[in-house]
């Protein structure tokens, strides 16, 4: 044959594969419990979790609140803490990147506080604020502020020096260079911080609720544990996972819209 046609394999669409893997995972999970490989007192099968889910939508027993109340409490705490950490962390990091005075004053304190896991603040927050919303907002704020400060700081520091020199040739003042040049060029890093901070906030929120609270998804998990109800534990975990993923997706969409011009 004088020539051969090479068949180019088309890549599988990326909708089929995720569905397949999730379905396989659920089936395997169901199977190991139903078949008795894992005793049902240790793990609830997905079918049972779904039943509890439908039940918990309207039934406050046995942990004291319906699912929506738990989710709403967690979301509220996360939202307030996350917003506060952005509100404080991003301007602080940006200022640390450009103004030497701010860097000199804040950096040492920040470096000392940074390695302390946010969860370690729980006992103190219980003393200070009790087990209500404020304490958890504080923990989340501590957790979220670290990536905000670091990313904003690095973003400003990475501003192309030639651009700064060029702005100087235009006679720009320090302040003009900071807010018209350093801040926009730091934006991709700052948006990276939005995602990282969200992950930090969400995981630490659940951690805080595990130890000190009376509602919330973390509390639901703890109660499931105390009552010996693996179905409730798993339901809490699934809700944490799904709502965290949805929040991440929303931030991702916002980021993509705002950064339209900077993407290359």
């Amino acid at each position: 044959m004088a020539y051969e046609e090479i068949v180019v394999k088309k890549p599988l669409p990326l909708i089929a594969l995720p569905c397949l893997s999730v379905a396989a995972f659920l089936l395997f999970w169901e199977w190991i419990v139903v078949s008795g490989t894992v005793p049902s007192v240790l793990l609830a099968p997905p079918s049972q979790v779904f039943t509890v889910f439908m039940d918990k939508l309207g039934n406050p027993n046995p942990d004291g609140a319906i699912l929506a109340v738990h989710a709403w409490t967690s979301l509220q705490e996360a939202f307030i803490g996350y917003s506060l950490s952005l509100l404080v962390g991003i301007p602080l990091g940006l200022a640390m990147g450009w103004f030497r005075i701010v860097e000199g004053l804040i950096r040492p304190i920040f470096e000392l506080i940074r390695p302390i896991p946010p969860i370690a603040w729980i006992p103190l927050t219980v003393f200070w604020f009790g087990i209500g919303l404020t304490g958890k907002v504080f923990i989340i704020w501590i957790a979220g502020i670290v990536p905000c400060v670091i990313n904003s700081y690095v973003g400003v520091r990475m501003t192309q020096p030639t651009l700064i020199q060029m702005a100087r040739t235009y006679g720009a003042t320090d302040w003009q260079i900071f807010h018209q040049l350093c801040i926009p060029s730091a934006l991709p890093m700052v948006f990276g911080a939005l995602q990282i901070a969200l992950a930090y906030c969400w995981t630490n929120l659940v951690g805080a609720e595990l130890l000190a609270s009376d509602t919330g998804l973390g509390y639901l998990i703890t109660m499931g544990g105390r009552l010996g109800r693996p179905d409730i534990v798993v339901l809490g975990m699934v809700c944490v996972g799904i709502s965290g993923a949805i929040l991440g997706f929303i931030i991702d969409c916002v980021e993509r819209r705002l950064l339209a011009g900077i993407r290359r």
Binding site: M166, A167, T169, G171, Q180, P184, G261, I262
Partner: protein
Amino acid sequence: MNTPSSEPQLKIYCEDINKTFIQKGHMEVPVIRNISLEVEENEFLVVLGPGQCGKSTLLRIIAGLETPDTGYVALDGFPVTGPGPDRGLVFQGYMLFAWNTVMGNVEMGLKLRGVPKQERRAVAHHYIRLVGLEGFENHYPHQLSGGMKQRVGIARAYANSPKVMLLDEPFGQLDAQTRMFMQHETSRIWEHEKRTVIFVTNNIDEALFLADRIVLMEGKLPGRIKKEYIVNLPRPRDHENPDLLELRALITSETELVL
């Protein structure tokens, strides 16, 4: 200039400039030795030399981004002490503001100096049209080709109405055809709005095509001026012009390769 005398006006004057960089704390690298240079008003001066010959440093000193160890630079008789809007810079790496549109980039210098919006828009429009980017005002840099990006760079430098344009290997990242085309465009734009230009390049054909005068640098550090050539040929020039080819051979014979 309506003065009857055709006496050329001195625009830039460099007096015996020396510059040494300190590397790793103690190693001294002499970059520029005893360079004196005069550039006349509306002259197109090309500084020609291979990589690592100090030509970019010379340009940065004239721009005021570096200070010479000895000697000084004067613009219109006043010594240069730092960067200023009277010198417009165009860089090899485009250096556009990625978060700004073409319009935003071109008007940036005027905006930073507080020129009212309507006025700066009008100026920016004029230069966007001059460099042939009309209709692309709202495009972002990542949507443009390399040649178009550098047009934005040129328009941005022009928009500040600088007395001197300083171009540092502006077409170094372009492919050969685009580069040739941009040389034609540069020639056209310059003839349209004359400025004093100092254009640094390592490309001999680019120098021959654009220059009123070529300053040839030594091929190694420290940077010195080796020869100067006046190019008295009408524009737009033809790369195949026998006089140009003769000069090309002359310059080539002066250029040795040093590793």
